[in-house]
């Protein structure tokens, strides 16, 4: 038995619970590249048994492989990038295997049949051929989403400050907020389509509702929970009431604003898609519903993929702006 001491790696911290880890091995990364290469080779070499344009899928895999190799070349000099890549290697490996199996089961053998269970090649082919529709739909969805979320957040912060800071506002508004806030926003759809002149404004109303309440609630909680000693400290430094609000209570509520905003974003995604499916004449939700009526399930899957990408990007941006704004908080910064 040989005992080797690995000088490069620090021992795992003994925290009492199992810490998340993955071995960072270059071999796994090579395996990952090979597995995506296998997916590509299978798609090129195995004959199709469905009528699918597989070229976009093959180009997609080629781009994927190129990116993996380019990143690896860059990472030779960038240590932190290499760590991330090697950490993700097992996952990428699994993705390659999964694509291969999926491709074999659908396009190559027709075990998973069209139109309900398209293969990866078919979905990517639809995304490429319908790219204009997807771009326009995403544009309409995102416009509705951002206008609604921004309006709702502004209203929410305003209401939250009033409720959290002024007793009178708390007395009158907080019970209303509590009761209306728990109603799922989509319950308002029947009313919204009747009251508002067009589907954009109706959808806007629903998203404003969806984002308003979580933000208002969290901001009011954040303001009301400001430690008394911060107020006392500010008062002995010459603060007046206005200063206490703007420089003590509101900054103290900023972490809660972000918590509310994250909840609001999730609610807004849901409300956006549901309201588009029901009332709108544009947007990703409308498109899914339209494709369904034509039994074009490849387009349904394609829009789901697009939603996943778009919403993930939005959440990632929100998350990194949160980390930047809250860099003063313990445990947030690296």
């Amino acid at each position: 038995m040989t005992k080797r001491i690995n000088k490069k790696s620090e021992p795992e911290p003994k925290t009492g619970f199992s810490t998340y880890w993955k071995p960072q091995s270059g071999w796994w990364y090579i395996g990952a590249v090979i597995s995506v290469l296998v997916a590509l080779a299978v798609d090129i070499l195995v004959p199709d048994s469905q009528f699918v344009n597989t070229l976009p899928y093959q180009i997609f895999l080629e781009i994927f492989i190129t990116i993996l190799i380019v990143l690896w070349v860059i990472s030779v000099k960038a240590n932190s990038l290499r760590k991330i890549l090697y950490h993700k290697a097992q996952f990428i490996f699994a993705v390659g295997i999964a694509l291969t199996v999926w491709d074999l089961l659908s396009t190559k053998s027709n075990i998973l049949q069209l139109p309900f269970f398209p293969g990866p090649a078919q979905i990517i082919s639809v995304i490429v051929s319908e790219r204009e529709t997807f771009l326009i739909s995403s544009y309409y969805s995102l416009r509705l989403f951002f206008v609604g979320l921004i309006l709702g957040t502004i209203l929410g912060i305003g209401t939250g400050i009033l409720i959290g800071w002024y007793r009178q506002w708390y007395y009158w508004l907080f019970p209303i907020l509590k009761v209306i806030g728990i109603i799922p926003p989509i319950a308002w759809i029947p009313i919204a389509v009747v009251v508002f002149p067009n589907s954009f404004i109706a959808g806007l109303f629903l998203i404003v509702i969806a984002s308003w309440f979580p933000v208002a609630f969290m901001v009011s909680v954040g303001i009301a929970s400001t430690p008394k000693v911060y107020y006392e400290a500010a008062l002995t430094l010459g603060a007046n009431e206005r200063f206490l609000l703007t420089n003590v209570a509101i900054p103290n509520a900023v972490p809660d604003i972000f918590t509310g905003l994250t909840t609001a974003t999730g609610f807004s995604f849901l409300t956006l898609i549901v309201s588009e499916m029901i009332g709108a004449k544009a947007g990703l939700g409308w498109y899914i519903n339209w494709a369904k009526t034509w039994s074009a399930y490849d387009k349904v899957y394609a829009s789901i993929v697009i939603m996943a990408i778009v919403f993930s990007i939005i959440l990632a941006v929100l998350n990194s702006s949160r980390n930047y704004v809250l860099r003063w908080k313990k445990g947030i910064s690296k």
Partner: protein, 276 residues
């Protein structure tokens, strides 16, 4: 060192707290004390003797039921920057850097533009040069307390009120900071009122020590510290004085415990013992 001019006058002050059941606790009873301009005065006593309450009355963070606390003849009604306060937990604003925390008084008073150049001086004064951009969670408890002192001092207060500022620190840091506080006091000439339960600290820093007893809280005796400005903890006079303060405190403690009816409510003067 200390002029005879009176800065803070506490006369006939009573403060009673009522809990939810309506039971009264007398925090302060008939307290009289004059603080002179430029003086370093310490309130010392067991927990529950009302020393912090007294300090909060001077700050204007609390008000008495009867009696008057005044500064330069003006009754104190609310908090103000001319009475700087340092809390036991530094109470720095965690979302602001060291520099921004020190600047907050200037901003609150809307004199930031004119006086922002002073920030650097106060960072130098407390010895935190190089930490200007650090956030409170990135610095130690002792450093945070230094920032809290600078934050109060930048307003050039008439009096600096220190509420057990070193109570939560380890022994080594405490001694270091005592030296810093003494140096700052000598340099700025600010009147300082300190609340502590550490006898050593009181003797090392003060011109006068007000010994307080609990239930009801009152000042039992004021001891003048006649030591030379360069204080040495191993000096004979220092040791004698420390013992004297301690004896007074123990006497105050006995006096107090003999009044107790409930034996479960034994007074804790452990904080006093620690310092020896």
């Amino acid at each position: 060192m200390s002029k005879q001019e009176i800065l803070i006058k506490i006369s006939g002050v009573n403060r009673v707290y009522y809990d939810t059941t309506g039971k009264a606790t007398v925090a302060l009873q008939d307290v009289d004390l004059d603080t002179r301009k430029g003086e370093f005065i310490t309130f010392i006593g067991p927990s529950g003797c009302g020393k912090t309450t007294l300090l909060r009355l001077i700050a204007g963070l609390d008000s008495p039921q009867s009696g008057v606390v005044s500064i330069e003849g003006q009754p104190i009604e609310k908090p103000g920057y001319e009475r700087g306060f340092v809390f036991q937990q530094a109470a720095l604003f965690p979302w602001k850097t060291v520099e921004e925390n020190i600047a907050i008084g200037l901003k609150a008073r809307k004199v930031f533009k004119e006086k922002k150049l002073y920030i650097k001086d106060y960072i130098d004064l407390i010895g935190l040069t190089g930490f200007e951009k650090a956030y409170p969670h990135e610095i130690s408890g002792g450093m945070a307390q230094r920032v809290a002192i600078a934050r109060a001092l930048i307003n050039e207060p008439k009096v600096l009120l220190l509420d057990e500022p070193l109570g939560a620190l380890d022994a080594f840091t405490r001694i270091e900071l005592q030296t810093t506080i003494r140096r700052i006091w000598e340099k700025t000439g600010t009147t300082i009122v300190l609340v502590t339960h550490d006898v050593d600290e009181a003797v090392f820093l003060s011109d006068r020590i007000a010994i307080m007893t609990a239930r009801p809280g009152r000042i039992s005796e004021v001891i003048t510290v006649n030591l030379k400005p360069e204080r040495d903890r191993n000096d004979d006079e220092f040791i004698i004085l420390r013992r004297r303060v301690l004896e007074k405190l123990e006497l105050a403690g006995k006096h107090w415990s003999s009044r107790l009816i409930d034996p479960l409510e034994q007074p804790s003067i452990s904080g006093v013992g620690e310092a020896i």
